[in-house]
């Protein structure tokens, strides 16, 4: 038996007539981890899917060989291939929410694999299910095996997925962005688990990620993909010490680093632009025939802070910490339960609906997913003019047109892009359009809700640069909601850390990130995957 576990040789995959993977060759030894890194659309996932022969119908393998051990996978009939999947190749998907069947108990889903590949039945199978759950660190596995996926948290679901992938005792584990949907603290646990299981069983692991920090944690070897090709393939330490290919170097350069940076502090005025006092948003839980309120979810529970003109305040927290709810509550996009939001001294909760509508001009928002944030049925021109029309500003139609052209140039697009639909733009370009839409009404403050988390790192760097430049030029204040501490270090003046609906720590960025006092902040910082090369 050779020590080569997986060999991909000159693989070519086309979608329609477009090549999406070209002449890709990779080699994975037993007991090693190969990380495929690259930005979205580079063909990482398609490569992994080709190995399991699970490509979407539109994609076609045009040429190449893939051998697993001594088996040439492309020569197998589909029936034989089903015996390879699960038994010899385990597969972990990005989104555990979608990969688990919601109407089957977790135990049954693991048992299915055991039944198919190890022919286990009855008691023996149940025993193995419980062992498998215990092995991935799920407490009380006897009881949890009988529960359904919705009863598990995100991190626990991903552990279940790992248990399913490992149940057939595969030689090769393919993990496609297994931690991207998870919070950093959970990500650290899942990565440690994966690495430990891989070493204990001596499996080969093909690990796909876009995050070079995560890659450092798990990789033995690293292959960087760009536009369907492997541009650099090197052992981990050599790669991180001195990346050779220019594309690898741009990836490193674009990576927001968790390092102290010199920020020019904005001028502090007597009256802050925005002052939030004891803000609370509770969602009632209604039950019974008459929808009586029996309890409430305290999404935001007494939050206070101030924001100066031209300042960036980062709100940091994990999913479910209430940071997005707070951002929307401040803009009065949902009803507040308690507290005050003072904008230029006026409480937004006391304003009449018409006065609030006029005030909206000064308070804008940028959303996480630029694909969902624009009406697909409207032209860019119409999208950018909507705010001006609603606020009755911008003058005549010709003047508004001119303003749209000016805005497009301002955010780094072309003036003639106004006559296109949103779907004609890439993710980064769309986020630029969303920024332009917010700028169209000349706001004093913008709530940025994870504006870069759906984007690739190189695009993220460009968008952050654009936001900074606009702040310097126009003096806009940002309330920057994010979970990415690297981004915070890059852009924020001050930071507030949120945990379970309250702010646990706030202060200047260099103090909070590099001399954290609250234990939660410390845990958060410790979980960030770091490159210690």
């Amino acid at each position: 038996m050779s020590d080569h576990l997986l060999q991909i040789d000159q693989l070519c995959v086309h979608i329609g007539d477009q090549p999406v993977i070209e002449n890709l060759s990779l080699d994975l030894k037993r007991g090693e981890t190969l990380v495929l890194a690259g930005e979205s659309g580079s063909g990482k996932s398609l490569t992994a899917l080709s190995v399991a022969r699970l490509l979407p119908a539109a994609a076609q393998i045009r040429a190449g060989r893939i051998t697993l051990g001594d088996t040439a996978l492309f020569n197998l009939a589909e029936r034989e291939m089903t015996k390879v999947r699960g038994a010899r190749i385990g597969y972990i998907f990005q989104e555990p929410q979608l990969a688990l069947n919601p109407v089957m108990t977790v135990g049954d889903q693991i048992g299915e694999v055991l039944g198919c590949h190890l022919k286990l039945r009855g008691k023996a199978r149940q025993q193995r299910v419980i062992e498998a759950l215990a092995a991935v660190g799920i407490p009380d596995p006897e009881r949890r095996a009988g529960e359904y996926p919705h009863q598990f948290s995100g991190g626990m679901k991903q552990r279940v997925m790992i248990a399913i992938a490992l149940a057939g005792e595969p030689e090769l584990l393919i993990a496609d962005e297994p931690t991207t949907a998870l919070d950093v603290t959970v990500q650290a646990q899942v990565l440690a688990l994966l690495k430990a299981e891989q070493q204990r069983r001596g499996m080969g692991m093909l690990f796909i990620t876009h995050d070079l920090g995560v890659a450092w944690q798990v990789a033995d070897h690293l292959a960087v993909m760009q536009a369907g090709r492997v541009v650099e393939n090197a052992p981990r330490d050599r790669f991180y010490a001195a990346p050779e290919h220019p594309y690898s170097r741009t990836l490193f350069a674009a990576l927001p680093k968790l390092e102290p940076q010199a920020h020019t502090a904005p001028v502090v005025h007597d009256q802050p632009l925005l002052e939030v006092r004891n803000l609370a948003v509770h969602f009632p839980i209604r039950q019974g025939l008459f929808k009586r309120t029996v309890a409430s979810v305290k999404a935001v529970n007494g939050v206070s802070f101030t924001l100066q003109a031209g300042e960036t305040l980062a709100i940091v927290g994990e999913s479910g910490s209430g940071k997005t709810t707070m951002g929307r509550g401040i803009l009065r996009l949902l009803d507040l339960t308690d507290g005050q939001v003072l904008h230029r001294g006026d409480d937004l909760r006391q304003l009449s609906s018409e006065a609030l509508r006029i005030r909206r001009r000064e308070l804008q928002m940028i959303f996480q997913d630029p694909f969902a944030a624009m009406n697909p049925r409207m032209l860019v021109n119409e999208i950018l003019q909507e705010g001006m029309l609603a606020q009755g500003i911008g003058g005549s139609a010709a003047q508004r047109d001119a303003r749209v052209r000016e805005l497009l140039v301002q955010v780094g697009l072309k003036a003639e892009h106004g006559l296109r639909y949103p779907h004609e733009f890439s993710g980064g370009q769309r986020q630029r359009l969303c920024i332009a839409r917010a700028l169209a009404v000349e706001p004093r403050m913008v709530v940025c809700d994870e504006p870069t988390s759906a984007l690739d790192v190189s695009v993220q760097a460009q968008i952050l640069e654009l936001l900074e430049e606009l702040q310097q030029r126009l003096g806009i204040a940002y309330l920057f909601i994010t979970h990415n501490l690297g981004v915070v270090a890059r852009i924020a003046h001050r930071v507030a850390v949120m945990h379970q609906g309250v702010i646990v720590e706030q202060g200047p960025v260099n103090q909070v990130l590099f001399a954290p006092r609250h234990p939660y902040t410390q845990a958060l910082l410790a979980a960030v995957p770091r490159i210690d090369a």
Partner: protein
């Protein structure tokens, strides 16, 4: 001079046609609307169905141009208004026999007392007044039908070819090279086939009763063709009543929620729990009462029938908007949480404008799917309702009336099968075409069935 006459349903039919044309113009300029229609265009089955449907629309529109013919000299009674289609079908319309006759028959279906030349009265099957009256020798019927049929079909094919050249020159010119457009070719072939059928029908129907005659001697082919308008109008006008109700109430309920949502939901749940047939029956009786009390206002039969048709459309519309409304409310509930609606709210855009600019365009695919799917159901509903006498006016040609009139005659020995068969066959063709077309439309518009297409533009900012 015949004076043009605009019935209410004519107005509605033409308006609907113009609205559809306007939609086509808008759609052709907007990529997100054009793309799904292009997918429909690429499916041969959908194109065949579309040509068949268009032929029916053509008949409907032709039948929706009414005029009052000049009163013949000396007669008191005002003549009934005629449509352009009636004018074209004059030989069929006026060739009325005394009673039943089978398809292509030369003799009547029942014995009659016939006065012979020598004064005797004989019970025999009489020669028909029009059907095959040109034949001296009954034995020549077979060859005559073949000859006329061949000439008619040939003429139809020739006319079809010229029509194709006129409407669609590309399809003719590239006939041999055009292997890459099977859908277009299928459509062209269907058009040709329809022309051949029309030629065949035209040549034979002037001399024979191709589908036979009914109890009062009316040509069944004529009735079937006239029924097309009734069917198509019920299928489309009802939607015209349904749409505004479902759209406005559904989207508003989903967007505003709270009180408005409660009201709309109670409204449609209540309506949906009353049997539709009861409502239709009640309103049909009500309308009858109104028309009897104001007899002077409804002078001519055709105006009465027209009003009943419209009333049926309205009442069918009122009973059938609930399903679509429910769908649209659900979609609006989903859309109101989307980021682009939130962004519009953050910009201070007012509620009604958000409904109009953000929600409506994004639910249109559901509307199109529902409209096309409902069409065939409504055509069938008309037949069913008319069969139990609460549908269209008994004097109006419709498939439901034809089936209703024919049901007793099926018990005769030998059976009178042709009325029923003609109505069923024609309805089958129309409904099948509508269903196939609806399937293709649903597949093209439904985002869930759309497969992921790689973005044409390379990523990067």
């Amino acid at each position: 001079m015949p004076t043009p006459l605009l019935l209410l349903s004519d107005l509605a039919a033409w308006l609907l046609f113009l609205v559809t044309l306007a939609y086509a113009c808008t759609a052709s300029r907007r990529e997100h609307l054009r793309a799904p229609w292009r997918r429909v265009r690429q499916q041969p089955v959908a194109m065949v169905a579309a040509v068949v449907l268009l032929a029916h629309v053509g008949i409907t529109l032709l039948d929706s141009l009414h005029f009052a013919p000049q009163a013949a000299n000396g007669t008191e009674a005002e003549p009934e208004p005629l449509s352009a289609l009636d004018f074209v079908l004059t030989p069929l319309r006026t060739g009325v026999e005394t009673s039943y006759s089978a398809p292509f028959a030369l003799l009547g279906f029942d014995r009659e007392s016939v006065l012979q030349a020598d004064g005797r009265v004989v019970r025999e099957y009489p020669r028909l007044r029009y059907g095959g009256a040109h034949l001296r020798d009954p034995a020549q019927r077979g060859p005559d039908i073949l000859q006329r049929g061949a000439i008619g079909a040939g003429a139809g094919a020739l006319a079809g070819w010229f029509l194709l050249r006129l409407l669609w020159p590309a399809q003719c010119r590239l006939w041999r090279q055009r292997k890459d457009d099977p859908a277009g070719r299928a459509a062209a072939l269907t058009l040709l086939l329809l022309c051949v059928l029309a030629g065949l029908g035209g040549a034979l129907a002037t001399r024979y009763h191709v589908f036979g005659t009914d109890k009062v001697g009316m040509d069944v082919l004529y009735q079937s063709v006239k029924s097309v308008r009734t069917g198509v109008l019920i299928g489309t006008l009802t939607t015209l009543v349904t749409l505004p109700l479902a759209l406005v109430l559904g989207v508003a309920a989903g967007y505003y929620r709270g009180r408005i949502d409660d009201l709309v939901q109670y409204g449609y749940t209540t309506l949906a729990s009353i049997p539709g047939v009861l409502l239709v029956a009640a309103s049909a009786l009500l309308l009858d009462g109104v028309m009897t009390r104001h007899e002077d206002d409804f002078s001519s039969l055709i105006v009465r029938a027209d009003l009943r048709l419209l009333a049926l459309c309205v009442i069918l519309g009122i009973t059938s908007w609930t399903g679509l409304c429910r769908l649209l409310r659900a979609e609006a509930l989903k859309l109101r949480e989307s980021d682009f609606v939130r962004a519009a709210e953050a910009l201070g855009v007012r509620g009604p404008r958000i409904l109009w600019r953000h929600l409506l365009p994004n639910v249109m695919h559901i509307v199109i799917i529902a409209t096309v799917l409902d069409f065939s159901g409504l055509v069938l509903a008309e037949a069913a309702l008319t069969y139990i006498n609460i549908g269209v006016d008994p004097g109006m040609e419709s498939w439901g009336n034809m089936i209703n009139a024919a049901r007793m005659e099926l018990a005769r020995q030998p059976a009178v099968w042709w009325s029923l068969s003609a109505a069923m066959l024609w309805m089958f063709v129309l409904v099948l075409a509508a269903n196939l077309f609806a399937d293709a439309v649903r597949e093209a518009f439904d985002p869930r069935t759309r497969e992921a297409t790689p973005s044409a533009r390379p990523a990067g900012t």
